[in-house]
């Protein structure tokens, strides 16, 4: 095998393609059968596998060099095998995050699960790392990045057609290609033998997916509960990068969160739409007879309908249509024009076809306009024509679209949403008719964080909209399980307050807050030890709001676009509480967030081990300051890369308003452009100070993007989606190319000054990518995306300084 061989380029491209594809597909499998948080961890584990490979290559370098072809062949064979075994183990290890802190075995299971995740990435990276060490860096890095970008894009599109589990099998089959290419270099006979073995291996895996029960969903997910009911069956399922939607039918399946205890009308059996196995959205049987859906009037969201006088019930905007309960509620209360937003195309398809008969074909009813768009994008585009009063809404209803418990446990702490930010609520307030109301319903959680945070967001949105007496514009009621918040641009009238009281009295709901409420009115039917919600709202509409926010045991600072809604309520003093009371109270303290911190610590520990061990074992002759500078340089550019990538994604997702697709497109374009930059790295900034200049260029571009990207893209905001995607992609070209320079230039320099350190430097770079991915997420949760970007500037500046030092060794 010779340097520059086209076969190596193909091998690295396909390996990188499958590595990134596997990362995304595994994240989808995890979100479907287990939990979203595990999906976030996969990125970290992938990088850990990469990092470990760098250290191993450095330790085994003489051996690999002597038997380069055989080594590549071995790694290329081990890669698809580890993909298969790692995937099977990942699915079969019985880890239950809810038992962490109670069952010591769960930590062992978690470690094995993390190992199973990291294993294929380790072997895949052995292929890439070996190629980087022994072949031309710029070309290999180009293949690595373009392969990764193509992999990300391909999987995003495959996710529209296939079950995530099938995509993993497709990826495993593709991962055989590098092995076959190498065999082809040896002889035709070897290639044919390898091909037969590969086909057999993939075929066996495909056949055994059901036998091994790999698709079994955790028994603690909502869909598992539904499937234990009599006569339960999955009627239909649809895939997309957004989520897997499954429609379930079963005897006794109902979802009526917050239903009044004294509902005098029957509740029908629903069919359920489950999103990634969670968050059931009910489909009620309907034939136009409103008596069958009268129960909807006995649930807290109905208050908002009652607050709009009958003569004003003209236009309603339903955010999150799902199974159509919002439409039925609007029909029941006589709204004349309905606009429904549903971000998931699959839901619309299911409701318009398979469940049209059962649901009374409500998605096609004459007075309804169904819009397949993200709520933020709609709010932005609707603002232009909503200036005319007749285009505004009398009621905007944000349906309860989150799974019960996701906010309470901190399980979704890494999963941000831009729907519940101060800016988003302001945009919706702008769409209201003068007398209109905006309503949002939430689960009542323990500990009490979510409802209070949401109220705080609405209060801040009202204040930013120029409303002075915010206390007069807010109503909050609760049932046993849910709460409904209603706000208006106008003060609530005495009549509306009377309606609220009557509504609550008749249904045994408690009014928590409305203008003029007295504390004794707040706990009439549901008594808690302290009137936590009422006290919180009173404080938040008073002068002491900031002091209350700071003193509250959980994080309730309002979410803004720079620091969106993360389902995160953790505060550091809770660690002290856990240490004092033992792990048993962990359930009450946002443990999902703590798990992230523990994983970050584990990643840091593993990184240090993998960085230091090779240096110790190799009895390195290089001067310690060089090792330090090398390590610091590659860790700085790795951290910098992710600290740029994550906030940029945030900015562009907000621009594109379609998170899943835009993430794939952005990731792919950034990687491909960085690959292009790497390919040209020999020609851009050649010479002694090229490394310094390239880092300085990245720093300057980050500063320009930080301040100028929004302005640059603003004129394209109203473009159709493909145009916006093209604009976003094009805008990434200069920065992407520049970000592709520091790594190959650095590695080329390492080849000059200490060739044995190439793989190690590659490892350090990847290991710090682990810390960077988790670290960037944590900094974003705590301080916002702008802070992440400012840190990126510092990292690239530090890299520029370090490159001067490295150049002096050359």
């Amino acid at each position: 095998m010779k340097p520059g061989s086209r076969a190596v380029w193909v091998i690295v491209f396909v390996t990188s393609f499958t590595l990134l594809g596997h990362e995304i597909a595994l994240a989808r499998v995890s979100a479907l059968v287990q939990w979203q948080n595990l999906a976030a961890i996969i990125i970290g584990m992938a990088m850990l596998g990469f990092g470990a490979s760098g250290s191993v290559i450095m330790l085994l370098e003489p051996l690999i060099k002597r038997h380069l072809f055989k080594s590549m062949l071995l790694f290329a064979l081990a890669y698809p095998i580890s993909l298969t075994l790692g995937f099977i183990l990942y699915c079969k290890i019985p880890f239950n995050p809810f038992e962490v802190g109670l069952d010591p075995c769960q930590i062992v299971f978690l470690l094995f699960k993390l190992g199973a995740m990291a294993m294929p990435f380790f072997f895949g990276a052995m292929v890439v790392g070996t190629a980087l060490r022994f072949f031309r860096v710029s070309r290999i890095y180009f293949a690595n990045l373009t392969g990764s970008g193509a992999g990300a894009l391909a999987v995003v599109f495959l996710l529209y057609r296939f079950h995530p589990m099938e995509i993993v099998i497709i990826i495993i089959a593709t991962a055989m290609v590098p092995f076959l290419v190498l065999l082809g270099e040896k002889s035709t006979l070897s290639f044919v033998t390898g091909l037969i073995l590969s086909v057999t291996w993939t075929g066996l895996l495909f056949l055994s997916v059901n036998g091994l029960d790999l698709t079994r969903v955790s028994q603690y997910k909502a869909i598992s509960g539904a499937l234990t009911l009599p006569d339960a069956k999955i009627l239909a399922q649809r895939f997309s990068p957004l989520s897997t939607v499954q429609a379930v039918q079963a005897t006794g399946l109902r979802s009526t969160p917050g239903l009044s205890l004294i509902t005098p009308v029957p509740v029908p059996v629903h069919k359920g739409l489950f999103f990634d196995g969670q968050a059931m959205s009910p489909i009620a049987p309907y034939n136009g007879d409103n008596t069958a859906i009268a129960y909807l009037d006995h649930m807290p969201p109905a208050l908002a309908h009652h607050l709009v006088p009958m003569e004003h019930r003209e236009r309603i905007l339903i955010v999150g249509m799902g199974g159509g309960e919002g439409i039925l509620g609007a029909n029941l209360h006589g709204f004349r024009q309905l606009v429904g937003l549903e971000v998931d195309r699959n839901v619309i398809d299911l409701m318009e076809t398979e469940f049209a008969g059962f649901s009374g074909d409500i998605y096609h009813q004459e007075n309804l306009v169904v819009i397949n768009q993200d709520a933020r994008a709609y709010a932005k585009s609707a603002r232009a024509y909503a200036r005319r009063a007749r285009d505004r809404f009398d009621l905007i209803e944000i349906r309860m679209i989150d799974a019960a418990g996701s906010a309470a446990s901190g399980l979704a702490a890494m999963h941000e949403t831009y729907l519940y930010t101060v800016e988003a609520i302001q945009e919706f307030l702008n769409l209201l008719a003068p007398h209109g109301v905006l309503a949002i319903s939430r689960w009542v959680t323990t500990p009490p964080g979510d409802v209070i945070k949401m109220a705080n967001i609405m209060i801040h949105a009202l204040e930013r909209s120029g409303i002075e007496e915010v206390a007069e514009h807010l109503i909050l009621i609760r049932s046993l399980q849910t709460a409904t918040l209603v706000v208006s641009n106008q003060k609530f009238s005495q009549e509306q307050i009377r309606i609220t009281r009557k509504f609550c009295d008749q249904r045994l709901f408690d009014a928590i807050y409305h203008p003029g409420i007295k504390i004794e009115e707040t706990q009439r039917f549901i008594r808690t030890e302290h009137p936590v919600y009422h006290d919180a709202i009173q404080a938040l509409v008073s002068q002491e709001a900031t002091a209350f926010e700071r003193a509250y045991p959980f994080e309730i600072t309002p979410a803004v676009d720079d620091r969106p809604y993360f389902y995160h309520f953790f505060r550091w003093h809770l660690v002290h509480e856990i240490l004092q009371t033992g792990t048993r109270t962990i359930a009450f303290t946002q443990w999902g967030y703590l798990v992230l911190l523990i994983l970050l610590a584990m990643a840091l520990g593993a990184s240090l081990i993998f960085i230091l061990i090779p240096l110790v074992l190799a009895r390195d002759s290089a001067a310690p300051p060089l090792n330090l500078s090398l390590g610091a340089y590659f860790s700085a550019i790795a951290t910098g890369f992710f600290f740029v990538e994550i906030p940029l994604m945030q900015k562009l997702i907000l621009f594109l308003s379609a998170p899943a697709v835009s993430m794939g497109v952005i990731l792919a374009s950034l990687l491909v452009f960085s690959g292009l930059g790497a390919c040209c790295s020999d020609r851009i900034f050649p010479g002694r100070h090229g490394l310094f200049s390239s880092n300085l260029l990245v720093t300057a571009l980050i500063l320009i993007y930080w301040t100028g990207l929004d302005k640059l893209l603003a004129p394209c905001a109203a473009w159709p989606m493909p145009g916006k995607m093209a604009a976003a992609t094009a805008s990434l070209l200069p920065l992407g190319m520049a970000m592709g320079l520091p790594f190959p230039k650095g590695l080329t320099l390492v080849k000059e000054i200490s060739p044995t350190k190439v793989a190690w430097a590659f490892g350090v770079n990847n290991l710090f990518s682990v810390i960077a991915t988790l670290g960037a997420a944590l900094v974003a949760i705590l301080f916002g995306f702008d802070r992440v970007l400012s840190l990126a500037v510092l990292f690239y500046l530090a890299a520029a300084m370090l490159s001067l030092k490295l150049a002096s060794h050359a």
Binding site: N96, F98, E99, L102, Q219, Y220, K221, S224, G225, T228, L229, P230, T251, G252, R254, S255, T256, P257, G258, L259, S260, L261, I262, T263, P264, V267, A404, G405, A408, S409, T445, T446, P447, S479, L480, Q481, L508, F525, I526, R527, T528, E529, E577, T581, R584, T585, A587, F588
Partner: protein, 237 residues
């Protein structure tokens, strides 16, 4: 009857004994664990109702958990029993039983038989226990265990708990042992005026609110949030 036949029948009776008679407490290997459980987890946390404590000491909890978890049966936590369900932590069972204010004459409806353990505890205190379970395998298993532990005053049925069991209504107390997304209104209608319902609300294996609902008049129902529970009560009393 010939001696051989008598011997054979005696042997047969001895062999059948564990399957039909209540568990033999004197040879109960878990008796000491149960006593310790009651002393350290229940009495020490303020449940002092003698009837509840006696029931908790009497009922062989280990028989209601999956065989592989029997050694953990008396630990201070819930255990998974399959189908996404759990057998509640001993303290929660005791607390919920106490909250029902049962007497020897009480007629109780249990929604969500689950493992059958809660029904067994109730059966030691109340006159009659009616228990409904929608998941068929759980119902069959619990019915068998209740029979094996001699709970003759429990009537278990496989049906949708949403509608309660109107045939035997009204009930002095209703206990919902599966964490519910909402409280089914038919259950309130089957509670006699003055009756009490106890229900945990919240997702399984996560923090739940333990509620006591009292029906004061036909359409007057009051709810108290008694405690937040998951595996132990919240540190705040």
């Amino acid at each position: 009857m010939r001696p051989a036949t008598v011997t054979l029948l005696t042997l047969l009776l001895v062999w059948l004994q564990p399957a039909t008679a209540p568990a033999d407490m004197t040879n109960d290997p878990f008796g000491a664990s149960r006593k310790k459980m009651v002393a350290t987890q229940i009495r020490s946390r303020g449940v002092s109702d003698p009837a509840v404590l006696r029931a908790m000491e009497d009922v062989p909890r280990h028989l209601f958990v999956p065989e592989k978890l029997r050694d953990h049966a008396h630990e201070d936590r819930p255990l998974a029993i399959g189908f996404g369900q759990t057998i509640s932590q001993p303290y929660v069972v005791a607390l919920m039983t106490k909250l029902l204010d049962l007497t020897e004459a009480s007629r109780v409806l249990e929604v969500g038989t689950g493992s059958g353990y809660q029904a067994a505890i109730l059966s030691r205190i109340a006159k009659e226990v009616f228990s409904v379970e929608i998941v068929s395998p759980l119902h069959l298993r619990a019915k068998q265990t209740l029979k094996e532990t001699g709970c003759t005053n429990v009537t278990a049925i496989h049906r949708d708990g949403f509608f309660g069991w109107k045939k035997h209504a009204p009930y002095d107390a209703i206990i919902v042992t599966c964490a519910a997304e909402s409280v089914p209104p038919p259950l309130i209608q089957q509670l006699r005026i003055g009756g009490v319902m106890c229900i945990p609300v919240g997702p399984p294996f996560r923090v739940q609110n333990l509620l006591r609902i009292t029906r004061r008049a036909k359409d007057d129902v009051r709810t108290e949030v008694i405690s937040q529970v998951r595996f132990v009560p919240l540190t705040r009393p």
